[in-house]
Structures are given as structure tokens and as C-alpha cells.
């Protein structure tokens, strides 16, 4: 797993696997805390892309955590709010 340390997990904020692993290990924290400490999941896509990867990393690091233990939590808005659409919707 030579390269895995540098692989980007949160594409929006360019947070790597190494960043997440070391932070999770150091603090044995919840997903929410991990996001606050590393900024993963706080980018433009609202964590949509990295959420599951982060959950899996936490599950692998926190002892006794089973798959699916991390509850689903979403904050609105779940889509970027723009004032009007460019390109227009079709009638």
C-alpha cells in the first residue's frame, strides 16, 4: 500500500488518506470530528463523494465499530443554491 497515504479522499478539499488515518488514529474520533479537524466533507459537494470513504476509514480505525454503525446525517441544502438556472430547464 505504498501509494495509499497520498491518495485524495476528499476531492473538494484535497484531504488525503494519510491525513485522515493519522487524525482518526490520534483522536479516535467520530466522523463529524474527523471532518472538522481535516476539512474533509466540508467542500463544495457537501461530502457527497467522500462520505462513504470517510465512514469506512473510521470503521477500520475505531475499535468495535461495525459497518453501518455511523448514522446517516445530512444537512440541507443538499444541492448548491444558485439564483436562477443558466441553460434553463426544458418545458
Amino acid at each position: 500500500m505504498a501509494n495509499m497515504e497520498d491518495v485524495i479522499i476528499c476531492r473538494c478539499e484535497e484531504v488525503t488518506y494519510g491525513d485522515l488515518l493519522s487524525t482518526a488514529n490520534k483522536h479516535k474520533c467520530t466522523a463529524r470530528e474527523l471532518k472538522l479537524r481535516t476539512r474533509a466533507g466540508m467542500g463544495f459537494c457537501g461530502g457527497r463523494t467522500c462520505r462513504l470513504s470517510i465512514d469506512r476509514i473510521i470503521e477500520s480505525v475505531v475499535p468495535d465499530m461495525k459497518q453501518g454503525d455511523i448514522p446517516l446525517k445530512y444537512q440541507p441544502p443538499v444541492r448548491p443554491m444558485t439564483f436562477g438556472t443558466v441553460g434553463e430547464r426544458h418545458e
Binding site: L52, S53, E59, V78, P80, E88
Partner: protein, 414 residues
């Protein structure tokens, strides 16, 4: 104000709209994509009967039927929040707020990403993205590509790419990690592929699968798995190779691949670079349930259904009055199931809205049975344990909500 708002104009949403509208309800369907049909639009495969399932045609058929019934379909509309206010639901979008007593969330599924070093390079895309470019937009995704991840979805889309004349050089596995998990273990991948082995395009795979179901034979088979891979319509499936890096300066130029053991461990010194100008990551699907989450719907983690799933009844009701779900959001299955579920949801909404009198219960049960029939005759099954997943949800509902909501459904809402 509409009687019912449907979020998602895919097979479940359109079928739901049709069922509702047939009872005279005024229905509005919202979808963020440029045209209706959802992910049906990209689907193209042959059933074992030889008949083609043409998603574009199916979507058009549903679209036309909905239009005939005066369903209002609005594309290019993104829903960013869903909230109950008194007895109505507010659907917040970039085109304003829509309100109705009934909402059907039919937002489908999303793909699991599998992070690979270099995966942010232009030219690396989810395999669903390749499907949309190929079948919906008719644009070539590249001249030569590599698929990372071997699962049913990957094979279905590989087939679509091949049909369109796109050169897929090979399929390899992702590197085993805490994130890729079983997707990086040849033993596990083979096991899951074998559950759909009757779909194997190659007679060799089909014959071999009978023996492969046996643990011992499987281990043997994996140990002697040809290095060049077994061909799937000309594209080698290399179960003993893993992608460890995607390389390129401004866009994809190649993929660095290593040999792996049967459990996914890397064979040192086996690195090779294969040229490619596009890479598809195939991580599998999970229910896209974020809107039901912000609406406050309870969830259950059911791996057989694909992940966290909004709690729902066989009638597609959720514990929140007026909120319904249908399609892949309830669990990953086919477009046909999504349609059948959409119909159940539409009928259930009509009943909750006070339509249909005595006959409607019967119609709903008939529609529920239809879902079961479609499942029993499914050609492609993303997850062989789907039946047990559906059963888990059914039991959970009955335990937690069964008796309570049956009474509530007699009341008129809105």
C-alpha cells in the same frame, strides 16, 4: 398547488406519476437532469430471451404516458431541501418552492467511489458517467480505457461500451484497502460474480461457474487464474491484478497495475504500466437517500439493499405521513423493479388521498405482488441477497409501524 410532488423522473418516479394521475391527482415531477428517464436512459442490455432492454425507449414510453395524463414534468430542477409544514410538504428547489400533501422521493442510487492515487485526473470517471456519455450523449469517452472494479454494473456497462465501439483494454481490481474492502479481494469478487454467472457471456465462465461454487475449486481456479485474464467479449477480466495508481500529467495517460494474491496482497516487483486515456471506476451502487434524511425519515442499515435505506412499508410508505419512496432509494435493483415499485407508491398515495374507495386496496396488493413477480423473473441481480434484504425491511416495518399506520391510512390527508 399539486396533489403530489415526485422527486426523480426515473422509472420509479414516472411510474408513480402515472399511477397517481390515473386517479385524477395533479402530479408534478421534478428532476435535475436535462431530460426525463433517470438512469434508464443509459441502460442497454440483452435479456436471456435475446430481447433488448432499451432504456431510452422505455423512458420515452413512460414519459409519453405521463404527458397524456397531464403530469407536469420539470427538468433541470434541483431539490435542495424537503420539510414538513403542518399537513403539507415543502420541496425547496432552484426553481422555487413546491408544496403538496404528498411527496414521492424517487432519487435512485449513487455510485461508491473507490479512491485510487491519481483518480482526480481528467479522464477518470465513475462507470455510470461513461454510460451516460456513451448512450445518452453519444460521445466517445476515449480511445482506450481501463475499468477498475469487477462487479455486475461494471460488466453491464462494459458491454454497452463495447457495443458502441469503445475500446476497453482490461478490467482490473482496485487495490485492497479499508475503503475498497472486498472489491480488492479476488476471492470475494469471484464469489459475487458467480452469483450472476448464468449471465456470463463466455461459455467458459458459465461452465466453470458450477465448479467454482465450491470453495476448493474456487481457490484452485484463482491460483491458476490466467495472468492474461479471461476475456469478456474481447476485454480481459484480470482478477489477479490491481490498479495502484493512475498516471498522467494533465489527464489520464496510463494505469500502474500490480499482480495480487488470491486475498489481494500485492506481489512485490510486479508493477506494469498500461496505456489508457480514460479510466472508469466501478464501486457499486448505494441508495441516494439524502433528501429523505433531511426530511427526518428514519433509516436502517441493510447491506443486502445497498446501505442505509429509508424505512418503508411494502406499500412504499415511510413513517412520515405523506412521504413515500420508490425505486433504487429503497434498495438496489433493476429498472423494472423501480417501475413496479413506483406503481405501488402511486396507488398508495391515491389511497391516502382518499381516492379509489374499496377497490384500491386490492389494486395496491396486486401491484405489490407484481413487484415480487418481477423480482422472481429478474435477469440481472445486482445483489443475490436482495430477497433477504427486502424481508428485513418488511419485518422491521411490521414491528415498528405496522399496526399504527394502517389505522392512519384510513384518514384523508391534505
Amino acid at each position: 398547488m399539486s396533489d403530489c410532488i415526485i422527486i426523480g423522473a426515473g422509472p420509479a418516479g414516472l411510474a408513480g406519476a402515472i399511477a397517481c394521475a390515473r386517479f385524477g391527482l395533479h402530479v408534478t415531477v421534478l428532476d435535475e437532469f436535462i431530460k426525463p428517464g433517470g438512469r434508464l436512459l443509459g441502460q442497454l442490455h440483452q435479456e436471456p430471451s435475446g430481447e433488448w432492454w432499451n432504456g431510452i425507449k422505455e423512458a420515452e414510453r413512460l414519459h409519453q404516458e405521463a404527458i397524456q395524463l397531464s403530469v407536469d414534468i420539470r427538468c433541470g430542477v434541483s431539490v435542495y431541501n424537503l420539510e414538513k409544514e403542518d399537513s403539507c410538504w415543502n420541496v425547496y428547489t432552484n426553481a422555487g418552492t413546491f408544496t403538496a400533501p404528498f411527496v414521492l422521493v424517487a432519487t435512485g442510487a449513487a455510485e461508491f467511489p473507490i479512491p485510487v492515487p491519481g483518480w482526480t485526473l481528467p479522464g477518470v470517471m465513475s462507470i455510470g458517467a461513461a454510460q451516460v456519455m456513451t448512450n445518452v450523449h453519444r460521445v466517445q469517452v476515449g480511445k482506450k480505457g481501463i475499468i477498475i472494479g469487477a462487479n455486475i454494473l461494471a460488466f453491464a456497462i462494459l458491454n454497452e461500451l463495447q457495443l458502441a465501439g469503445i475500446h476497453v483494454d482490461r478490467i482490473v481490481l482496485p487495490e485492497k484497502s479499508a475503503i475498497s474492502q472486498k472489491a480488492g479481494e479476488p476471492e470475494e469478487v469471484l464469489k459475487s460474480l458467480l452469483n450472476a454467472a448464468h449471465l456470463a457471456p463466455s461459455p467458459l465462465l458459465r461452465l466453470g461457474s458450477r465448479f467454482m461454487k465450491n470453495e476448493w475449486f474456487r481457490q484452485l481456479g484463482l491460483r491458476f487464474y490466467p495472468k492474461g485474464g479471461m476475456k469478456v467479449n474481447g476485454t480481459p477480466l484480470q482478477l489477479r491484478k490491481a490498479a495502484i495508481e493512475i498516471i498522467g500529467q494533465h489527464q489520464v495517460e496510463g494505469v500502474k497495475v500490480v499482480d495480487i494474491g488470491v486475498d489481494g496482497t500485492i506481489v512485490p516487483g510486479s508493477e506494469e504500466i498500461y496505456e489508457a486515456d480514460f479510466v472508469c471506476i466501478a464501486g457499486g451502487l448505494y441508495p441516494l437517500a439524502e433528501l429523505t434524511a433531511v426530511a427526518g425519515c428514519p433509516f436502517q442499515f441493510v447491506p443486502e439493499l445497498g446501505g442505509h435505506v429509508p424505512v418503508h412499508s411494502e406499500w412504499m410508505e415511510t413513517p412520515l405521513p405523506g412521504l413515500f419512496v420508490a425505486g433504487n432509494i429503497t434498495g438496489i435493483e433493476s429498472g423494472k423493479i423501480a417501475m413496479a415499485q413506483g406503481t405501488v407508491a402511486g396507488l398508495a398515495i391515491a389511497k391516502h388521498a382518499g381516492k379509489g374507495r374499496n377497490a384500491i386496496d386490492h389494486q395496491i396488493e396486486h401491484a405489490v405482488q407484481h413487484v415480487r413477480n418481477v423480482r422472481a423473473s429478474a435477469a440481472i441481480q445486482f445483489n443475490p441477497q436482495i430477497e433477504s434484504g427486502r424481508q428485513k425491511m418488511k419485518e422491521l416495518w411490521e414491528q415498528e409501524y405496522g399496526s399504527k399506520l394502517n389505522r392512519a391510512s384510513e384518514e384523508r390527508i391534505g
